[in-house]
């Protein structure tokens, strides 16, 4: 069994650093085929890296994504592998290679290049503060145990 947990985010944008925080803190405790990786870099590179590795049974993406929900809202869902139209995929690739860090781009671009296994999960949290700096907003800070538990649960097949 091989599970990869991908933390997506930007280290100096407070809540946006959630994904990186997860990989920083849970990574050292991982074992038995579970790997944590900082995915704060562009998706094309990630897909090229994936192609070099043995297949994963499951990939879990975790990060803060602003979808206008209540700050601290945790959302977990299984990815359905449905891509937007080709024009948008291309725009997202262009965004990606030029440095935008985005969980959506990562999932869509990885899918477009057929790098993902069938079993893919996304765990998101609604950020409360994505301005420059370190440390989480109260809304996100208070949900760290819950999101940590959600991620650990998804590492168990």
């Amino acid at each position: 069994m091989r599970v990869l947990v991908c933390g997506v985010g930007y280290r100096f944008l407070r809540d946006n650093a959630l994904g990186i925080h997860i990989t920083d803190t849970l990574g050292p405790e991982a074992s038995n085929g579970v790997e944590f990786e900082d995915l704060g870099y562009h998706p094309v590179g990630f897909t090229q890296n994936l192609n070099e590795r043995p297949d994963y049974d499951r990939i879990v993406f975790v990060g803060a994504v602003d979808r206008k929900r209540e700050p601290g809202t945790i959302t977990a869902y299984k990815y359905d592998h449905v891509l937007p139209d080709i024009k948008e995929v291309h725009e997202r690739i262009a965004d990606s290679v030029t440095g935008s860090i985005s969980l959506d781009n990562l999932v869509i671009v990885s899918e477009a290049f057929k790098a993902l296994p069938e079993d893919v999960w996304v765990v998101e949290i609604q950020p409360g503060d994505e301005t420059w700096g370190e440390g989480f907003s109260e809304a996100v800070e208070s949900k760290l145990p819950e999101i940590t538990e959600t991620v650990w649960n998804l590492t168990r097949l």
Partner: protein, 640 residues
């Protein structure tokens, strides 16, 4: 005469000084920007009455430019002219503020985050600035290690632009949509470079530029991978390297690493030849179809180029000697005005730089050149302007957008009060003009005074000499063509540095060390990293005291080129280039207008807005808003 607009003169020995007897010599009287058409109801009425085809077309955002650029135009679709332009960097970059009060070495790692494409060059520019301030220099192998990092970064960067960002504008899909008559002609036009790139017909070449499915697009992605693989062998990570430090590179390089890098760099010999042939064919085909394509994105050839790839024995990290070590770089520094080389002095290049904020969302910090400002001269005694980066203060001042007043988060950098562009093309242009003796000898590169000849060892393709010649006209196609040639130019410099690294390894001793030890100074110091990014000029200016940064200023290529108008009434390079762009797209009704020629003009500069501006403003971030949820159904427990 180096400067025509700044109040600087030179004595017989070439020493610069302020012109005497001028009170407040850098001050100026602002030239008001023209009234925007839409703010002038009478003019709008007259224009509409005349032909009804005048309309505002805003490209917001401009896509495939890395982030936050909006471009405002007023176009006359009947006369196929652009009547008004405004380039708008839409987000604020706060690194200058963030870095204040930090250890200068933090800037290497933090400023790297200014860009997700070319973070490595920010790290290096920052390390160079630290070295100057600390008074240290790397051992030769440390310099060579940095040169290899830079080379592989460019070998990553140029294919990205040509294949993924600019290339799609010339693909079958784009050409069929915007100029179907050109597509028909492409189907019956043979290429000139078939022996190199393998495409017999222009249409076949254009088909393979198509995003996601085209072979050239996918090949571009592959070459970005190869370059990254080479980069991380020294840098550890990309785009944010972990080994760039003041005084060199904090890793070791052995013969195995050099072999791994060489194997990858060699693959660019043929790829570089092929890419040059492709962009030759594209330019010549479009010029043949309609000579007006030469005018897409045209503007005077005014360029600024700090030069890159230090000579490991000449570079000493001092400002006092930077003219000497700058001229020993593989790519020499230079400023080009109207196509002619004005100077190759790094000190004059630096002394001529000013940043203005009349049309940017910042507060002016000098009081229009008041008597008091921090640095009236540089460390070599050359006069500096109050608007020079060493004197600059970043004071954000968000306000409503006005095309006449303030409309961008980019400042307006100027050299000798002229708008400059910069890029891979300024690198090869200056290298061509400096001639054979002016910079470090490279066995694979020959400068003729008007061209650069590149002659690399044979790979799969025949070992033909490739020559890039300074073009007669300057515009979008020539920018892309020059960038394509720069893949091979970069590979040649990388190859030379790889051989040098092997020689140093074999020699051993202190020269083969990767970095030098140092102690952090606690007194007041200044420094500047004069370096380059894939898309041109990059400088980091720092001032430190008590071991922390007092001021840090990053000036990037896209700040130069995306700049708004300056106080002298001059547009920024994007604005100027688009104003001169004829609208050659095929449209019958105004609603069909796509703006492909405007976009080709802008993208030819290889814009990279994360460097220009960054991160946050009023809750907006560089991450795009989601437009596709991609939610699942199987086992879905999400809440929206």
């Amino acid at each position: 005469m180096c400067f025509k607009n700044l109040p600087i003169e030179f004595d017989a020995q070439g020493n610069a000084s302020l012109k005497p007897g001028v009170a407040n010599p850098y001050s100026y009287i602002e030239t008001p920007a023209p009234t925007p058409i839409e703010d002038d109801p009478e003019r709008m009425k007259e224009l509409f009455a005349r032909n009804g085809a005048v309309r505002r077309v805003d490209f917001d955002p401009v896509t495939r430019v890395a982030g936050a650029l909006a471009f405002h135009t007023v176009v006359d679709l009947e006369n196929r002219q652009v009547m008004e332009t405004a380039s708008m960097a839409t987000l604020f970059r706060g690194y200058e503020i963030i870095l204040k009060g930090r250890d200068p070495r933090d800037a290497i790692f933090i400023s790297s985050r200014a860009c997700g494409v070319c973070g490595g060059v920010h790290a290096t520019a920052s390390a160079l600035a630290c070295e100057m301030a600390f008074g240290i220099k790397p051992p030769p192998m440390g310099v060579v290690g940095r040169n290899l990092l830079l080379s592989t970064e460019y070998l990553y960067d140029h294919p990205i632009h040509l294949s993924l960002l600019a290339g799609p504008d010339f693909s079958e899909a784009a050409v069929r949509e915007t100029n179907p008559e050109i597509w028909e002609r492409a189907r019956n036009t043979k290429t000139q470079g078939a022996a190199v790139h393998g495409y017999e017909l222009m249409s076949e070449l254009m088909t393979d530029l198509t995003p996601l499915t085209g072979k050239l697009y996918l090949e571009g992605l592959y070459y970005t991978r190869l370059a990254r693989e080479a980069y991380v062998l020294i840098g550890g990570k990309y785009p944010h390297p972990q080994t760039v430090v003041p005084g060199g590179v904090s890793t070791t390089i052995d013969a195995s690493d050099l072999n791994e890098i060489s194997l990858r760099v060699m693959k660019y010999f043929d790829y570089g030849r092929k890419t040059a042939a492709i962009w030759d064919d594209l330019a010549e085909f479009f010029y043949e179809v309609n000579p007006k394509y030469r005018d897409i994105g045209t503007r005077p050839a005014n360029m600024i180029e700090p030069g890159q790839w230090d000579d490991p024995y000449a570079y000493d990290g001092t400002y006092e000697n930077c003219d000497a070590w700058g001229r020993e770089r593989w790519a020499p520094p230079g400023v080009v005005v109207d196509g002619e080389l004005r100077t190759t002095s790094l000190q004059m290049l630096n002394a001529g730089v000013e940043e203005f904020v009349e049309h940017a969302f910042y507060e002016e910090w000098t009081g229009n050149g008041d008597e008091y400002y921090r640095h009236k001269t540089d460390p070599a005694g050359n006069p500096l302007s109050p608007w020079h980066p060493w004197n600059k203060e970043t004071i954000p001042k968000p306000e409503a957008t006005s095309w006449k007043e303030k409309y961008s988060w980019s400042t307006a950098p100027r050299w000798d009060r002229m708008a400059m562009e910069t890029g891979a093309y300024s690198r090869i242009w200056v290298a061509a003009q400096t001639g054979p003796q002016a910079y470090r000898n490279c066995p694979y590169i020959e400068s003729t005074g008007h061209s650069v000849k590149i002659n690399l060892p044979k790979a799969d393709l025949p070992n033909t000499e490739i020559e890039w010649t300074i073009p007669e006209t300057w515009g979008a196609f020539e920018r892309n063509r020059a960038r394509a040639y720069c893949i091979l130019y970069t590979a040649a410099i990388a190859w030379d540095n790889l051989q040098l690294a092997r020689d140093l390894l074999k020699k051993g001793g202190p020269d083969a060390r990767m970095s030098t030890p140092y102690e952090m100074p606690k007194d007041h110091r200044i420094g500047v990293g004069l370096w380059g990014a894939g898309r041109g000029y990059l400088t980091h200016h720092l001032e430190m005291d008590n071991g922390v940064l007092e001021n840090y200023q990053i000036l990037t290529p896209s700040t130069w080129m995306a700049s708004p108008k300056d106080p002298f009434g001059n547009p920024g390079p994007y604005e100027e280039a688009v104003m001169a762009t004829p609208l050659l797209e095929n449209y019958e009704k105004p609603e069909d207008f796509k703006g492909i020629d405007v976009l080709r003009a802008i993208r030819s500069f290889d814009p990279c807005m994360p460097c220009t501006t960054h991160l946050h403003m009023d809750g907006r971030t560089i991450s795009r808003e989601i437009v596709s949820c991609a939610c699942g159904s199987d086992g879905d427990d999400h809440d929206h």
